[in-house]
Amino acid sequence: MTLRGLLATTVALTFASQALAQDFNDPAEFKKQREQLSMTPQGPEGQPWAQHLGDGMVDTAKYKKDGQVTLCFSNAGVFNPWRVVGLNNLNAEAELHKDRLKELIVVDAEGKDDKQISDIEALVSGGKCDALIVSPNTTAALTPAVEAACAKLPVIVFDRGVNTSCPVTYIHPVGGYGFGITSGEFIASKLKKGDNVLALRIMPGVDVLETRYSAAKNIFDEAGINVVGSEFTGSDRAKTKSVVEDYINRGEKIDAVWMDAGDTATAALEAFEDAGLPYPVISGEDQQDFLRKWQSEKLTAIGPSYPTYQWRTAVIAALDVLDGKQVPGPEWVLPQPAITEDVLAEYIDDRMPPLHYSLCGCQELPGYPELWGGKK
């Protein structure tokens, strides 16, 4: 009996996931990111991974190091396609600097804070690293480890941040509010007051995702657009399609689908196909499958991005720091473009796998497209 009870509890627990009620709606940050979206970036034309928004620069002369150098990278993990593409970008960028780089040491924390903390400690105390790149698994938990590393060598943080200003620079695109603003404003511009939008989200409680939703929700509320539902899909295509079918079956008209990440956008669209309904206005992301569908079905759509080319920037920044060059900082804000109908065709590459992120800035890198899973 005990075993049976235990198993029943285990089964029940599988279905439980926690939702955190935190405030991810910061008007000041919303305003800042909205301004950044319309800024003209500085830096080399056509290479967004080397560009930056705003004027701040930091001096790095004290880190200058001659000869060949070793870069170390503590990665939070490769637990989703975005990070798969990103890691390929990072490796390929390192390949470009073979003459300067003796070695690139990559350590994977498999999505675990404790493993990443010990990874960083091991890298720092190993003494081989000339500079450390960190893509933190979570912000608060990794802060002390990063602070300790800062005392020993130059640290560059990208993607998620840390609660300390000790890294030389923190590289990130405009951010979650920016993502929500781009997609929310597009949908609001295509809909009338009183129209319905269905919001599909990956999971609750992740700051970079929550801010996307809060920004879009603000815009929808302002435009008088009705958010009929906000559903979590866990990036699961089958669940996404089922959820959308359920909404369709409720009989409410869905004029637009807003997504906080585009990896299940095509599944959401299939629900409309299977029900024999016209496609809604939709915001996805820069994945190939969505872009192809957009083109072939002539959708009214937008592909905002959280560009994977920031993984290239991390290597560029680390080498610049070891060269003693000034780098944008203490935050290196990268431009965060969106794919619109005008530029859609140039981002479609039939050789690439369906979940390849098109704004990878990797088309010119060595090993493209095979290294990213594409066909020759």
């Binding site: 049976r4 198993l7 029943a8 029940a12 599988t14 559903e231 079956n249 899973g373």
Partner: protein, 327 residues
């Protein structure tokens, strides 16, 4: 001689009860759905419900075989994921290779089932550990092979298995191909348990393996076959899931526990010895009706998860309590 009819009576009664438990819960939940959304009473929407529930029902049927013999199969979800990823990589958009690849997928599934069965039977590793191991192994293989991101494409003839809906069918209106696959699969596994001697052997092994062995039941073969059936059902479900919604790296995540939950809700007894194919079918339909109902209610996610957990515990608790009271 007088004890014989008594034993057969007490064996038969829980089986009838199992059927009732799952069916009653399903009818109640579906009635609640229809109350909220009367159009779910239309045959078309019921067919669509069946189409979406089909993978879970098929998984539950396979899982039931293993549960009857007193084990668990935790590797089903991983096998389903591997099927979806392998299909997309191997077929890669070429419709001509679809059927050959489906054959290969079944061969792969049977191999996983055999490994599970052989390890459990001959190395005497408990099935929960064995299949946890294969789950990790298969998930790792799938991850390594795909590089962590979906690759390749599924052509329409593969997708149709989970997606195609025939419209304007006489009498029933619409008929999803997945519902036909579901009916065929359930008929097969029903026949396996009720039309052959296998069903009685499985129950005997699950009830008391030592006694079954002494009575001349081929315990090893019975157990191994159960794991093979389970793996085959995971392949079938994987094909339907891939067809329904396309390639994704987490296609089968968590399905093994849903399948176990479905069997228990339907009245099958964990650790074996009791249950029928209808426990699995109606248990899975109940569970899926619950998912749909909670979707339709439009509650916030956090509350929805809690309610789902409560209902699951209540359903399993009620059915085990009733079984215990009667036996």
């Amino acid at each position: 001689m007088t004890t014989v009819p008594q034993t057969s009576l007490s064996l038969r009664r829980p089986e009838r009860l199992a059927l009732n438990a799952g069916l009653v819960i399903f009818v109640a939940l579906y009635a609640a759905i229809a109350f909220l959304q009367p159009n779910y009473l239309e045959l078309g929407l019921f067919m669509n419900f069946l189409r979406r529930a089909a993978p879970l029902v098929i998984l539950a049927c396979g899982q039931l075989y293993v549960i009857l013999t007193g084990g668990f199969d935790l590797s089903m979800g991983a096998v389903a994921t591997l099927v979806v990823l392998a299909a997309s990589i191997l077929i890669n958009g070429d419709p001509d290779t679809t059927w050959a690849v489906i054959g290969a997928l079944y061969a792969m599934g049977i191999a996983v089932g055999l490994v599970n069965g052989l390890v459990v039977t001959f190395l005497k590793v408990p099935s929960i550990i064995t299949t946890l191991g294969t789950m990790l192994l298969v998930n790792g293989l799938a991850l390594a092979w795909s590089g962590g991101a979906a690759r390749g494409d599924l052509p329409d003839n593969f997708r149709n298995l989970g997606r195609l809906v025939w419209r304007d069918v006489p009498v029933i209106g619409t008929l999803p191909l997945a519902a036909v696959v579901l009916a065929g699969f359930v008929a097969l596994v029903w026949f396996g348990l009720n039309g052959t001697v296998y069903g009685k052997r499985a129950l005997a092994v699950g009830d008391n393996p030592r006694a079954a062995e002494l009575a001349g039941t081929p315990v090893a073969a019975t157990r191994i076959l159960a794991f093979v059936v389970s793996a085959v059902s995971a392949v079938t479900a994987g094909i339907l899931i891939g067809g329904f919604s396309g390639v994704s790296v987490n296609a089968g995540e968590g399905l093994e526990l849903q399948a176990i939950a479905a069997c228990v809700i339907g009245g099958a007894q964990l650790l074996g010895g009791r249950g029928s194919i209808w426990s699995a079918v109606f248990g899975a339909l109940s569970l899926f009706a619950l998912f749909t109902l909670l979707n339709l209610l439009g509650l916030p996610q956090a509350l929805r998860d809690s309610i789902q957990g409560l209902i699951l515990i209540a359903a399993v608790g009620a059915s085990t309590w009733r079984i215990r009271r009667r036996t």
